[in-house]
């Protein structure tokens, strides 16, 4: 009896909560699925801020064909939660489409749900190539993928790093190291492939556990392999660890090239102090681009500053903003909530490179991936992360590090 009562009351409680969600008929509901808690919370939240600015901007300009856009936040840290929240958004909230997700794991899982439910998914920041590589029809991605990161970093060696060091790229010895999570493994793997394809010499390629307390043996491996260039894909702690332990071991490569993560963060740069000078970093477009090549950049930064009181914390808000803006544009053009109409509109949507605040273009392939998204090469100069390549958005010239 008591067991029954308790069960019933618990479930009734659930149902009540579900029932209390107001909705006006003339609104358009869009889901925003990001990791707002857990280890990825910082960048998940940063990504969401970009979406919010895009939505606010659109609403101020009249919404989508006169309808106000209502953003419904959903938090997911892992696949399990992603599935649950995706179901909630698509069934309980009845959203027209979902924006997400920064975290590839969340995106991979949620899109399996939305695909079966027939709800379009607009990925704005997750990089795993498999998200648009599974043949799903209603998953679209505006941002660059892990392969873009990898290819750009190798290209940078040939086009920027080697010339700045005044050496032939083919004489350089590369070490590719990465944390063993999905992010590191993907980028590191593609870097190896691309380096091989372009005939560069890789002397060491090694995954390491992201939870390491000590990377001194990795440093020794890289050092004794004689690597000139270190390409590292890492988060905050391991970036710090590797730099410090390299310094202790007296190992000074001619260049470090990061791939986002810890390499893009101001906090890390501050902690490392002089050691960060000259370090390269491939990442999503940052706000320190040359605004001439990225129309709308200044306005975006101003809007962000106004709403949140500080400068954007990373490039994620920018790319989410640009992607969301484009997709909102597409929704307006489609003038329908029908998934096939939306897909049609996405595939037909064209914008030239350099036409928005991230200096991207838009051209979606059959798999839903934007082929004109890119990553840029940045470099830390005097404590600031400036863009050095491609020239159209470069705000500084590359320098030789310490």
């Amino acid at each position: 009896m008591i067991k029954n009562l308790k069960r019933i009351s618990a479930v009734l409680g659930c149902m009540t909560v579900i029932a209390i969600t107001p909705a006006k008929a003339q609104d358009i509901k869009l889901g925003a699925l990001f990791p707002f808690s857990g280890g990825l919370a910082l960048l998940g939240d940063e990504s969401y801020r970009g979406v919010k600015i895009a939505v606010d901007e659109r609403n101020a300009a009249g919404g989508i064909n006169g309808k106000k856009i209502v953003l419904i936040k959903a938090d997911a840290v892992d696949a399990n939660q992603a599935v649950g929240e995706a179901r909630r958004l698509t069934s309980v909230e009845g959203v027209t489409a979902i924006f997400g997700s920064f975290a590839s794991g969340v995106s991979s899982a949620a899109t399996q749900v939305t695909e079966l439910a027939g709800v379009p998914y607009f990925e704005l920041g997750a990089v795993a190539d498999t998200i648009t590589g599974r043949g799903l029809k209603y998953v679209f991605r505006s941002n660059s993928t892990a392969k873009n990161f990898a290819d750009r970093s190798i290209e940078s060696i040939i086009k920027v790093v080697a010339p700045t060091l005044k050496v032939d790229p083919k004489t350089l010895k590369l070490a590719i190291i990465y944390e063993d999570g999905p992010y590191g493994t993907l980028v590191g793997g593609f870097q190896k492939e691309e380096a091989k394809r372009l005939g560069l010499t890789v002397v060491e390629s090694q995954a390491y556990s992201g939870k390491s307390v000590d990377l001194s043996s990795l440093v020794l491996r890289v050092k004794s392999a004689g690597a000139d260039i270190v390409l590292q894909t890492s988060y905050q702690n391991d970036t710090l660890l590797f730099f410090r332990q390299s310094a202790t071991a007296g190992y000074k490569p001619r260049a470090f090239i990061g791939a986002g993560g810890g390499y893009s963060l101001n906090d890390i740069a501050q902690t490392l102090g002089a050691a960060i000078e000259g370090v390269y970093d491939v990442d999503f477009p940052q706000i320190t681009m040359n605004a001439a090549g990225a129309p709308g950049l200044k306005e975006f930064v101003a809007a962000y500053q106004k709403q949140f009181g500080i400068q954007p914390r990373s490039g994620h808000s920018l790319v989410n903003y640009v992607g969301a803006k484009a997709f909102l544009d597409i929704l307006a053009k489609a003038n329908s909530t029908d998934k096939d109409k939306i897909r049609q509109t996405v595939l037909a949507y064209r914008q030239p490179v350099g036409s928005n605040a991230a200096a991207w273009g838009f051209h979606f392939g059959e798999n839903g991936q934007n082929q004109l998204a890119s990553t840029n090469l940045m470099q830390w100069q005097h404590g600031k992360l400036v863009t050095v390549y491609p020239e159209s958005v470069a705000s500084a010239k590359p320098i030789v590090g310490n």
């Binding site: 009896m1 067991k3 808690s37």
Partner: protein, 595 residues
């Protein structure tokens, strides 16, 4: 094999369980479906965990390793070889069972946290290896299960189909859990968990039983892992081999009530839906609020309701439920009881021989060349001053201590002499014993305690019950059969010790100070009981300090002093022997005559 559906406890539980199905079908919201499926999955995991964590009392903190093995095996088989997950899950279960044996075999012999730590270590190793072998497991990026719709692939468009499958897994898990709990195996698990030594003394191979529980639990966990992989259609190492999940399922079982069948389900139903719904709301307060509340919940539960909801509220719930109508069919008791021990065919002949026993503990020679022979039908009293080494000898006669030198041989029913080496083999050879510090299985009833002994010769509950009733008569416990053992008086507990040993149908019964702490009338009853036991054909060896009782009962007396046999012979002779008096009372009393 199946519960009695006429019993109100059973049908109320089943009806409650059906709500998990009925509610989502009624509401028809994919979110409620998702929640119900989550509840089924996690309740199933918690129930499976409970078999080793609750029933057997072995805290597995890395249980997700079996979930992960199940997920990856099924996922890989379908992704790489197109093999149906219905088959894949059996492969996964087999692998999990092997893994469980590997972890359990070395660690469950030991007491302490070794099993727990080993499960965590295994979990980490599995996770790291799966990441390392990324080329065929998909590594950290995870494995996408191909979206093939249909029953053979366990992937459906309709959420209700998932729910039915998940519910099915839950029901199977609960059924296995119920079977374990109500079988002899379940009795053994509880006995081992509560008092491993006492369990071994009634013939339970404690290690084997614990390993069996771990293996069963692993297989069930693995099945659910396989299903879940198909539900999420995405498997990745950190989620599949997650320490948090391992702790979470243990927590659900704890909150509901460890060691009960319903506990894990109740715990999951209470916590999971609320946690899912609260997540979004709590996140508004900042990162980590959700986890913080979980942690506090765990601490609070442990401090205030350690026996879980079922443990604390179960009795009152059961009382209410029992008021409901039932059609109790009369259970036919098996009237052909097990044979009484055949009256000693070998009257007077030796049944237990200890020859030349030596045992040293560090600097102390506790047993110094002790030889004892027990004859059929005799009551042999063992006396001696405190610290003489009587209990040490006892422990060597029952397998709890191995002598450094010397042998102990037991005459089996078919006239063979064997030399057992462990408590359970001694028990099976026909040597029963009691413990000086009584060790009843506190949470079980008197009847169930005695049945534990009876289970050594039968796995049928009805038979065991019959034996227990019979033994209870001999030991004067008939009126107390339904009381919980923890509620007995000292006298009752001592008789229970004897009863439990008797239920194993021993030919030799070792009694360790069974009269200590009894009041005079209880002593008289006990003496009569021991006589009845001997008359029923059991040879008795008893350590005692009560001289009158020993004199009254014993056919022969052995005196042990400083680890050696000081004197052996008829009671009157031994007691009046000057050396014996000197040993007990000191030189000054040698000339005082014993009464």
């Amino acid at each position: 094999m199946l519960p009695n559906f006429n019993n109100p406890r059973v049908y109320v539980s089943l009806l409650s369980l059906l709500i998990l199905l009925a509610l989502p079908l009624a509401v028809q919201s994919p979110f409620v479906y998702h929640l119900a499926i989550q509840v089924c999955v996690f309740a199933g995991l918690a129930a499976a965990w409970n078999i080793v964590g609750g029933f057997a009392g072995q805290l597995s903190l890395g249980h997700a390793v079996f979930y992960g093995i199940g997920s990856y095996t099924a996922g890989l088989l379908v992704a790489k070889f197109g093999i149906s997950p219905w088959i894949g899950m059996f492969v996964g279960a087999a692998l999990s069972m092997v893994a469980a044996t590997i972890i359990a075999y070395p660690t469950l012999r030991l007491r302490g946290p070794f099993f727990s730590l080993a499960t965590i270590a295994f979990l980490e190793v599995a996770r790291l290896l799966v990441i390392y072998m990324g080329s065929w497991t998909g590594g950290s990026a995870g494995l996408n299960v191909p979206l093939q719709i249909g029953l053979p692939w366990m992937i459906f468009r309709e959420k209700s189909a998932y729910l039915f499958v998940a519910f099915g897994f839950l029901v199977v898990t609960l059924w296995v859990s119920w079977l374990v709990r109500h079988s002899r195996f379940g009795f053994y698990l509880i006995a081992v968990r509560e008092r491993e030594d006492a369990a071994r003394a009634v013939g339970v191979n404690a290690v084997r039983v614990k390993i069996a529980a771990a293996v069963i639990s692993a297989a069930l966990t693995s099945f659910i892992g396989s299903f879940h992989a198909m539900y999420l259609t995405f498997v990745e190492p950190s989620a599949a081999f997650s320490l948090e999940m391992s702790i979470q399922i243990a927590m659900f079982a704890l909150i509901g009530g460890l060691g009960t069948v319903a506990g894990p389900v109740i715990g999951t139903v209470m916590v999971l839906p609320v946690a899912e719904l609260a997540r979004g709301w709590l996140s508004a307060f900042g990162n980590g609020t959700h986890g913080f509340v979980y942690g506090m919940l765990l601490v609070v539960t442990v401090l205030f309701i350690p026996r879980g909801l079922v443990g604390h509220l179960g009795k009152s719930a059961q009382r209410l439920i029992d008021r409901l109508p039932s059609r109790r069919t009369d259970v036919k008791t098996n009237t052909t009881l097990a044979q009484k021990t055949s009256p000693a065919r070998h009257q007077g002949k030796p049944v237990l021989k200890a020859e030349g026993l030596y045992k040293r503990f560090g600097g102390l020679q506790a047993t110094n060349d002790v030889s004892i022979t027990l004859h059929a039908g005799e009551i042999l009293g063992v006396i001696g001053p405190n610290g003489a080494g009587k209990t040490t000898v006892f422990n060597q006669l029952s397998g709890f201590i191995r002598p450094d030198q010397g042998t102990v041989s037991v005459l089996t029913e078919d006239g063979q002499w064997i030399t057992p080496t462990s408590p359970e083999t001694f028990a099976r050879a026909g040597v029963g014993r009691t413990f000086q510090v009584v060790q009843p299985f506190a949470g079980l009833s008197v009847m169930e305690n005695i049945m534990l002994g009876a289970f050594m010769h039968t796995s049928d509950k009805a038979q065991a019950k019959a034996i227990a009733i019979e033994v209870a008569e001999i030991t004067d416990l008939t009126t107390l059969l339904d009381t919980e053992a923890r509620g007995l008086t000292v006298g009752g507990m001592k008789r229970l010790e004897v009863a439990r040993a008797l239920a194993t149908r021993p030919r030799v019964l070792l009694l360790d100070e069974v009269l200590a702490g009894l009041n005079p009338s209880d002593v008289v009853r006990a003496i009569e009981m021991i006589r009845r036991i001997r008359d029923a054909g059991v040879s008795v060896l008893m350590i005692e300090h009560l001289m009158q009782a020993t004199m009254a009962l014993s056919d022969r007396i052995i005196v042990i002093h400083l680890g050696r046999v000081l004197k052996e012979g008829q009671p009157a002779d031994v007691v009046n022997d000057p050396e014996v008096i000197q040993a007990y009372l000191g030189k000054g009393y040698v000339h005082a005559q014993a009464a």
